[in-house]
Symmetry: C2
Subunit: 224 residues, 2 copies
C-alpha cells in the first residue's frame, strides 16, 4: 500500500530506503536548500524515483542560504576535511534541517491522503547531528501525530543500523552506489576527503562492496 512520503536526498541511505520500501512510497521528496551538493544529489534522487515510477517533488528552501548558519551553505572551501564523526564536521550542521524537512513532508503527506513520513537517518549520524537521534525522531513523531487530522507518523527505519549495514542491504537490492551522491563539496567528482566522502568510502569498504565512485583523491584515506 502506497501510504508514505520519503525524504530522499540522492545519497546512499535514502536511495537504499527508496528501493527497500518502494511498494510503500507514494512520493519522494527532495529539498534544495542552496548547499554546494544539492545540485549533484537531487538529479540522482529524481533518476531513481523515475526508475521506480514514484512521484518526485523538489522543494526549494532558498531562505536557508540567506538566514541559516552552516559551512554547508558557504561554498566548497568552507567544508572541513577528515572523519565524519570529527568535531569539525559540526560546522556542516544546518540548524534543525531534519525538523524542517520532516515538517514539510508531514504537510505534503496530509495534503495527499498519506499516513507516514520516512527518513533515512542512521546510527552513524547521531554523534554529530542532534536532529538525527532517536529521541528527536520520537518527539517529532509525537508532534506530527498530535498536529495532523490523520495522525501522521514518522518512520526512521535505519536509526539503529550503520551505513555499512545500509550498503549491504542496497547491494542486495542491486543498487549501484556510483549512482548516488555524498560529497558535501559538490564538485564535478566526489572529493574523497570531506567527512561524507570518507564515510561513504569506509561504509562500502566495511560492507565489502566494490566502490564505483569516481573520487578526486581515490587512493588513500585522508586521515591515514
Amino acid at each position: 500500500m502506497k501510504d508514505s512520503v520519503l525524504i530522499v536526498s540522492g545519497g546512499m541511505d535514502s536511495i537504499t530506503m527508496l528501493y527497500e520500501y518502494k511498494d510503500r512510497i507514494a512520493i519522494g521528496l527532495s529539498f534544495d536548500y542552496g548547499s554546494n551538493h544539492n545540485a549533484r544529489e537531487i538529479p540522482f534522487a529524481r533518476m531513481h524515483c523515475e526508475r521506480l515510477g514514484i512521484r518526485h517533488i523538489v522543494i526549494n528552501l532558498d531562505f536557508m542560504h540567506r538566514y541559516f548558519k552552516s559551512s554547508l551553505l558557504e561554498g566548497p572551501d568552507a567544508i572541513p576535511e577528515g572523519h565524519y564523526a570529527d568535531d569539525n564536521m559540526k560546522s556542516t550542521v544546518v540548524p534543525f534541517r531534519n525538523g524542517i524537512m520532516l515538517a514539510i513532508a508531514t504537510g505534503i503527506a496530509e495534503s495527499n491522503g498519506l499516513r507516514h513520513v520516512m527518513m533515512a537517518n542512521h546510527g552513524g549520524d547521531h554523534t554529530i547531528y542532534p536532529d538525527c537521534r532517536p529521541d528527536f525522531v520520537a518527539a517529532f513523531g509525537s508532534a506530527t501525530a498530535a498536529g495532523t487530522y490523520e495522525g501522521i507518523t514518522v518512520e526512521a527505519l535505519y536509526t539503529g543500523i550503520t551505513k555499512a549495514d545500509i550498503a549491504r542491504r542496497g547491494h542486495a537490492l542491486g543498487i549501484d552506489y556510483g549512482e548516488t551522491w555524498s560529497c558535501y563539496k559538490g564538485g564535478v567528482r566526489h572529493c574523497g576527503r570531506c567527512g561524507t566522502c570518507v564515510e561513504r568510502r569506509e561504509a562500502l569498504a566495511e560492507a565489502g562492496i566494490k566502490d564505483n565512485t569516481v573520487y578526486d583523491s581515490p587512493l588513500t584515506m585522508p586521515y591515514e
Copy 2:
C-alpha cells in the same frame, strides 16, 4: 534579554504578543505561503516590528501554494463564511502549517544564538487546528529541545487564554487593532463574514473594545 524569535503574522494575537514580550523578542518572523491574506497581514507585521526596533524577516513558502491542499490557498471565493469554530472552517487548515513555521523558526533561532521560539496560538484555535493544541505544542517543544545543540524551546504563552483575553491585554498595551489584519479573504477591507472576521468582531465585542476595523459587512454578525 533578547533571546527569542516570535512567529508574527500581523493578526491580533501575534501583534499583541509582540508588544507584550518586546523586550525578549530579537526577531519577528513572518511567512508568506501564498494565501489570499498574506499580502494584507505581513505589512502590519513589518510595521509593528519597525516601530519596536525588532528585526523582521519574511520567509517565502510558495511551495505550499503548489503542493498543499487548503481553501486558504485557493482564492477568496473558496473561503467559507460563518463562525470560526464551525466545521466548514476545517477547509482553511493548511496541513501542519504551525509545525513548518515552528521548525523554520527553530533553525533561525539556533542560527542566531537565540533560545526560544514563541507562537501566539490561543484557546479558541484548538477546536479547528490540531497544530494549535497543547499536546502538539508540548511534543514539538520536546523535538526542538532534542534536535538542537542549544535545546531551543517553544513558548506558546496564549495557549490557555481566549482571543478576548488577548484583546484586553493588547488594549492595555495601547494597540489599535485597526492596525492588524484577520480576514482570510484578503480583500482591500476585512470582509466581516469569514470565520476569522467573525472571530475578531466577537473578541473585540466581548472585551468591550471599540472596533476600528473597516468591514465590508459591518452592521450584523453573519450568523445572526
